[in-house]
Amino acid sequence: MTVEVRGVTRRFGNLAALDGVSLSVAEGEFVALLGPSGSGKTTLLRVLAGLEGTDSGTLHIAGRDMAGVPARERGIGVVFQHYALFRHMTVFDNVAFGLRVRRQRPPAAEIAQRVRRLLELVQVPELERRYPEQISGGQRQRVALARALAIEPRLLLLDEPFGALDALVRKEVRRWLRGLHDGLGITSVLVTHDQEEAMEMADRVAVMERGRVVQVDTAAALLREPATAFVAGFVGDAARLPCAVRDGVVRFDPLPIAPIAAALPDGPATAFTRPGEMVARRGAGEAQVRLVRDEVEGPARLVVGAGAAVLDAVAAPGEHFARGDSCLLSLSGAHVFSADGSRARAG
């Protein structure tokens, strides 16, 4: 199902949890809403599900205006952050719930058959007689997914669904869930604060900041061309460097980093560099190597002290450092944003 959000605002008291959000999701697409806590991503998900109202703006799902359509009539599958399983029901009854509350309730045999098929789909057929408190976090998540899928939604909403899983299981479940999305041909929206998760699972990532969607793009495009300083700082493992631009040259004083060219107006600016973009060469300078970590492949990673600042850098090709060596720092590239928001790729 297509999702079309236009200019949606949602206020809680004085705080705008959503501030003029627009977003469109294509049929069959997997979109992640990525942002720090408080950026409004969960609120947006709840608006899509019909669990939260809006103060202004429109929402169309599959072309239909959702104003005044309650959650129960939207037919959208939702997997909640803490799964929200019904504790007094067995796994079977949990999954069957969406079928049993239908106005035209299918016969019991059909319900049973469909529940079993769903439990097999999420790979926990053996759990049907258990209660939610008797199964593990990962199993609960699968049951919650089966329950959401029971109503055969064309749109699936996932609110931080991996939060309660340990790192190892998380990675595996991510791939499995993405496979499930592709297999079922549904449209999915995932809320997460974990950029790795968003970038690995989603076709496109919508980065949210303080109630706004600031950029919607593929993972590669977000890394290559961050639209704002916030995106540049939030995605990738970027370091933030204060700097100043004059006559098309970016200077990092007082940091001992070589100036770099960028086509930006004069004035204060902020540069963002990825870990590999800060390069250390041998030479007498203010910067001093504090730690060296040799890598199996590629250059050694360094931690460099420069005055009060501590920077991550890599050794220039063919050069070796020991702790205490002094070095010269330069950038092989950076995203630079001037105070007025204009942006340039330096180097």
Binding site: A49, G50, R72, H82, A84, F86, H88, R100, V101, Q134
Partner: protein
């Protein structure tokens, strides 16, 4: 998990050290506070002999008093279930001015001397009282000095038990479960019937047991409003007091024993239902 536990005398390590000492203290306490007095209560009526015990308990007045005490206590607890649930809901889920005052007022029956409650209830429910007067005039209903009065007094003293047992469970019950039900297509009524109430059922039953247990033994508030007519509005605890005043200790203990056995059976039945409900829960 196959991690080996530190080998001790027992095969399994226990969470609480000093199992024996703990058990000894617990049993001693239980014996002094509960078992010995109850044993005395069980032994005393035997002075009457089996035939005498049966005769003492099958007096019409005793049967009527026991019937009233248990019937009114059950009815009061039953009527308090929906009322207590409603009040707990209001305190937990609704935001309105005066909620704090309502919350505090709910505990008053705990704190008030029951005799004071009895006198107050009698004053308003009597034929010349604020509530009793209009009711008598408009409908011809009488509350004070009737069985309805007994039920009213018992409802008053036992209401907080239901509210306070349901309240924490309701507070704990995530709104997420209700939202999940809504996204799955359930109407508000279906959500309440299939999700909220079943979730609250164990707490409601516990509240019911507590309210019932409190009501069966209630004395102070009832004797003022009941009128205490033998065979009609005389409760079993009052009958015990009356027999004690007549130095019929064995007879008093016999009524007490009957109450004890009946209460125990009822509470046991409720506990068994509870167990079934708790299946699969920790």
């Amino acid at each position: 998990m196959s991690a080996s536990l530190p080998a001790g005398r027992g095969a399994r390590a226990r969470a609480i050290p000093g199992f024996r000492a703990t058990l000894a203290v617990t049993l001693l306490w239980l014996a002094v506070i509960v078992l010995i007095p109850l044993a005395a209560l069980a032994l005393r009526p035997l002075e009457l002999g089996p035939a005498g015990l049966i005769a003492s308990l099958s007096e019409e007045r005793v049967v009527a008093a026991l019937g009233l005490s248990f019937g009114a206590a059950l009815l009061a607890a039953l009527l308090n279930l929906p009322l207590g649930l409603l009040l707990a809901w209001a305190v937990v889920r609704l935001r309105f001015p005066g909620r704090g005052i309502l919350d505090a007022a709910l505990d008053l029956p705990f704190a008030l001397p029951t005799a004071v409650a009895g006198i107050a209830l009698t004053a308003i429910a009597a034929p010349n009282g604020w509530v009793g007067g209009p009711l008598a005039e408009l409908f011809g209903w009488k509350i004070a000095f009737t069985r309805a009065g007994v039920v009213l007094a018992l409802m008053f003293v036992s209401l907080p038990f239901i509210v306070r047992t349901v309240e924490p469970v309701l507070r704990d019950m995530a709104a997420e479960a209700e939202e999940a039900a809504a996204t799955l297509g359930a109407t508000r009524a279906q959500t309440v019937l299939r999700v909220v109430l079943p979730g609250l059922l164990p707490a409601l039953l516990t509240g019911f047991s507590l309210a019932f247990a409190r009501s069966v033994g209630e004395y102070g508030s009832v004797i003022f409003i009941a009128g205490n007519l033998p065979m009609l509005t005389e409760i079993a605890p009052l009958l015990i007091v009356i027999r004690l005043e007549q130095y019929d200790y064995a007879g008093a203990a016999a009524v007490g024993l009957a109450m004890l056995v009946l209460s125990f059976l009822l509470l046991l039945a409720i506990e068994l239902v509870q167990r079934r409900l708790r299946r699969g829960r920790r």
